[in-house]
Symmetry: C2
Subunit: 468 residues, 2 copies
């Protein structure tokens, strides 16, 4: 293989792996030659090869740019058809970067584990471990432990949603629930609707299943932009929506009952299915638990997905989906992938949930998260200027910050990583050809000296004038 071919191949890799994105400028021929040690001629041949393959394009006097293969089609409501989705490599890099124990974990998606594993839960697990009965003859094959499903069904019933244990399928965490639901309900090439800004797992799942994604922007006030939603379902043959309406990750809003009701009406009119990602449902600060879309669901169109990851611990990998008539299909898919969900933990959770420890634990958890979120919000508000918009909502443990337009969230992420501080850059949650100027902060950690220093470093990084 010629040097230029080899170079073209490795540059192609950078484009395909998402390191270089649509309309990114490539290094100039001279730069590339200098850093690579290849001759100018070799570099030029490689660039021309990439151009011939349609991967890059040149603009006179400006240089070479990455071709935009994710052609976007905009209208007044900014409904976007994203024809090709490639977000996976970026997320992989991010998840790897935040795993180190030295890292201050403002970037992680899970709440501080010290708030989750209660003494009672640990005690229950310890007791369970002693009893031979905990180690069942058979693993709990799909749909999972009956008693656990009964307890989960009860919780739905208490929220005004008539539910049988047979409606519930236990999954290996909430992401597994979303992914199995999407797999059961779609074929490659189907249209699905996502929020423009959303938990990256949804994008990944869509990519993996070869789905066409229509995205709608957030509404500044209502969270969901109903006009954009209407427009989208009128223009595209959408089969399934995947939405997060309570304590939205990463932004934090909870959509009002009125908007949910109207949304449900629109879904019913066209028989569009909804996968509702509701993993933060228990983390509201006010007295009233927000309703889920399942509550408004008269036609069995909603698959409601949730888990214990955000309340008892992500390490347990226990989630579920209110699968209704899709139950059997989802079980089929489980029998082909994970076979079943850890039965020891399912047994322990049955004990724990039966004794109402969970309600007490949730109350404590909500109070603690409320106190911490307020502390973080107050401190950040005091030190950042008004050019920084800190989105505060009374639930969950994320603060979503809109940076001034000139500040690149990706750069902030890279800079803080070098100081052993992780944050989640906005670019993980939406696709943009512009500079992403958002960051997400996990504020579930008590502000001790280490956290205080990290918080100050963070402020300094995004707003250098803060402490002057």
């Amino acid at each position: 293989m010629y040097k230029s071919e080899k170079l073209a191949l490795s540059l192609k890799h950078l484009i395909e792996s998402g390191f270089w994105k649509a309309n990114d400028k490539l290094p100039s021929l001279r730069q590339q030659a200098e850093t690579s040690g290849f001759s100018l001629m070799t570099v030029m041949n490689a660039y021309q090869e990439l151009e011939a393959q349609g991967l890059i394009y040149s603009q006179e006097k400006l240089g070479y740019f990455v071709t935009g293969d994710a052609r976007s089609e905009s209208n007044s409501n900014s409904v976007i058809l994203n024809e090709k989705i490639e977000i996976n490599s970026k997320i992989f890099r991010y998840l790897k970067s935040i795993q180190s124990e030295q890292m201050v974990p403002f970037g992680i998606a899970f709440p501080n584990s010290q708030l989750l594993y209660s003494a009672k839960l640990m005690q229950t697990l310890g007791q369970r471990a002693k009893h031979r009965l905990s180690y069942e003859q058979m693993p709990s094959l799909p749909p999972g432990n009956f008693e656990l499903r009964k307890l989960i069904a009860q919780r739905y019933c208490m929220q005004g949603i008539p539910t049988d244990p047979s409606d519930i399928v236990i999954t290996s965490g909430g992401l597994d629930a979303l992914n199995l639901s999407l797999q059961a309900m779609t074929q490659p090439g189907d249209y699905i609707l996502l929020q423009k800004t959303i938990f990256y797992g949804a994008w990944q799942a869509a990519e993996h299943l070869g789905l066409k994604v229509i995205s709608i922007p957030e509404h500044e006030e209502h969270g969901i932009d109903l006009e954009a939603f209407k427009d989208a379902i009128e223009r595209y043959p959408i089969k399934v929506c995947l939405l997060m309406l309570n304590s939205h990750n990463p932004i934090g809003f909870t959509v009002s009952d009125d908007i949910k009701y109207q949304l449900a009406k629109l879904l019913h009119e066209r028989d569009i299915y909804l996968i509702e990602d509701d993993v933060y449902e228990e983390l509201y600060f006010d007295h009233k638990k927000p309703l889920s879309m399942k509550y408004f669901d008269q036609k069995n169109l909603v698959l409601h997905c949730s888990s214990f990851s955000k309340t008892l611990g992500a390490g347990f990998r226990i989630g579920w989906v209110y699968a209704g008539k899709f139950s059997e299909h989802i079980q089929h898919l489980q029998l082909m992938s994970t076979l079943s969900v850890n039965s020891f933990i399912q047994n322990a959770l049955v004990d724990y949930l039966s004794h109402r420890h969970y309600e007490k634990h949730l109350k404590t958890l909500r109070n603690t998260l409320k106190r911490l979120k307020n502390q973080y919000y107050t401190y950040l508000s005091e030190h950042l200027s008004e050019d920084y918009q800190i989105h505060y909502y009374p639930s969950g443990y994320f603060l979503w910050i809109t940076l001034p337009e000139q500040i690149n969230g990706n750069l902030i992420y890279e800079q803080l990583l070098e100081k052993n501080i992780s944050i989640a850059p906005g670019s993980l949650f939406y696709q943009t050809d512009n500079v992403p100027h958002h960051i997400r902060i996990n504020c579930s950690f008590e502000i001790n000296e280490r956290i205080q220093n990290a918080l100050d470093a963070l402020i300094q990084c995004i707003y250098p004038e803060a402490f002057e």
Copy 2:
């Protein structure tokens, strides 16, 4: 919709769901009319509709039959191209049927759990539950707990296979490992090679991923038929083989080192990948552990999959794959599906495996399984005539029985189910248009009165003259 259309649709469902298979005879028009309550005319119209759709065909005076859509192409070595694979529904029904606690579990795939969970393991879990450190900040994201991977890597090294912890990816059980490996290595439409008789999970995975399956028959003496294998890889562009060579499920044979070596040579010559399903690797009765194909792998073509499900408990859902250069791709797939594997159990297994309890446990387990398998084999041999071939091999806990040709394994399965006795019918493990005349018996249960009675009922069912 006309009644006949409705009927045609529901009959079509029976064919598509695999309830009726190729060349099965449909009920006669009169029978169908009587049992359904439809008129003879309606039934005839429905049958004609199905015939028009090519789903059934009629033979004069004999009636209607299901069309064989899995056209098979045979040659001297019986290498078979299976164009369409639909095995999932059958397996789902089977797995559901054996879940009941009343059922005598000769049909289950897992060893008797009482032989697995040792007192030491229970103690370790109990101690782990008490310590806050067990509940990590972050779930063990892919590739999984480092210490656990180190311990697994050590075991490989001790078997003469140089292994780094970074070669290992922890998975949600062995099936997840197989499935992720196959997903990482193939694209829909790729050719893979399977054994003709094999763990049904392999068929399911292939079906799900849209792969073209080439199958080779077993060799009566060697387990693997090298001539058929050679023929298959010469005739088809096979990308990946998925094989089980140690304590093969369901038959039980272990392929010799010599055959393994020759197989490895053939794979190397053509750079064909191998996914090695080795979940029974520890359950050999003799002193020498059989070698894995990984041992003969000089070119990093083998992905070796195993788990703790058959030695410590299937309910834990902890398996792994020696993924080598496919590690990152497999981790990508995990981040899109289960996210990660239960970290509490991974932590507990680190404790357990560190203290060499595992070696002692395995020794006891092997001795017990050997004793039980011999007991079952002796008893069955004493009561069945020579027309019944009981395949005995010194490993594992399955006995595979070839019934006389006129006895239908599926019927035996149905008849025993009614007596609350489960067995695994041969039809779960291979595709055939003929009557399947094999059954698989799990013999890991101590022969108490209940098991003795069930064993007698089983013998009576397959060989009514036994106790005369």
